[in-house]
Symmetry: C2
């Protein structure tokens, strides 16, 4: 099946949203935990978290300030900190529910039954039920003028993970902690290992 540029432009908006969201492949599923200066908490599922570098340890994500994660973005700017919590198969329905349009004074924690957890004096809430989560300090953010999204870059400053999942070489077995992957807007997946491949040489 072939879609030309013109055909893509003429698709019904909802069909196009589903189609284009499928093109990047499997995506990560993460919950972003924040609070404002008064301590009002917020939680938002984001599928655009990506690895940016290990030295220093940096993580990026794309946020749409005009959609649901607006409160999350505002809290990040206000406090400079947030948590990233991997979604596992035990909590993926609750994680998805955080994408509903709750008001600013409603916490997605209360609304979904996901529980806040405060670790190591960090000023943003973690998700108790997540088995791999880390504290992030905002480093920079950039407005992408082309479509009004925000690129948010942070430094990983504190990591909490089920110890049994960390292998001898530092690789974390995400399957063992039931981390899920996302495809499209709304499809959740567990994974099966094909294999780890050695460092490629000519």
């Amino acid at each position: 099946m072939h879609f030309t540029k013109q055909q893509l432009n003429e698709l019904a908006p909802r069909f196009r949203t589903q189609l284009i969201n499928s093109l990047s492949g499997f995506k990560s599923a993460n919950l972003i935990g924040t609070q404002d200066k008064l301590g009002n908490t917020n939680l938002a599922i984001v599928s655009s978290v990506f690895h940016l570098g290990a030295h220093p340890p940096l993580v990026g994500m794309i946020m749409r300030p005009h959609s649901v994660p607006r409160h999350t973005f505002e809290n990040i700017i206000e406090t400079g900190v947030y948590t990233i919590n991997q979604v596992n198969s035990e909590i993926y329905s609750q994680a998805h529910q955080t994408s509903a349009r709750y008001d600013r004074d409603e916490s997605e924690f209360d609304a979904t039954g996901l529980k806040t957890e405060y670790l190591n004096d960090f000023d943003a809430p973690f998700v108790l039920q997540s088995r791999l989560k880390y504290a992030v300090k905002l480093v920079e953010h950039q407005h992408l003028a082309i479509n009004g999204t925000e690129l948010v870059i942070g430094e990983i400053i504190d990591l909490h993970v089920d110890g049994a999942a960390v292998q001898e070489d530092g690789f974390i077995d995400l399957m063992s902690i039931q981390t899920v992957a996302v495809s499209g807007l709304d499809s959740y997946h567990t994974t099966q290992a094909l294999s780890r491949l050695p460092y490629a040489k000519k």
Copy 2:
């Protein structure tokens, strides 16, 4: 298990690279097809392709210009076009092999047995064996000073996909075309569906 910022900083570099690369969750596996103005082809596996928007259809990726995808990045700047080809379980070993340090005049297509395919007069090579692939026109790129990576943003202008995978609402069933996910630096995974969830409402 808890790693503080100081402990993360003191990890052996290879251990840290594996560990930090595992934190973002499951990642997409895509092959970036390019050629220079003389038609010399290049192919590089990239795990940082992410959805940026559907209206207009935009896709982003992070490239490390000082590592293997350097030739790819240079070709993109030189020609303004590239292809993104989803990796499936039939070709993941060959896809991984493209990360070896081939010289500029060696094509990863020839070295790995992946085959070039030219579609709809587009001036960059597709991967014949990929079952979901699209033509991308460079829109902008930004140097991220914090760690020397490049953010590359492109517009999706031509889509080729196995028709049976496209569902009525536009969602593409990536499992049916055996698209794989990556974790860490080198672990490849097939997926199993948990479910698609409805649009979340309060």
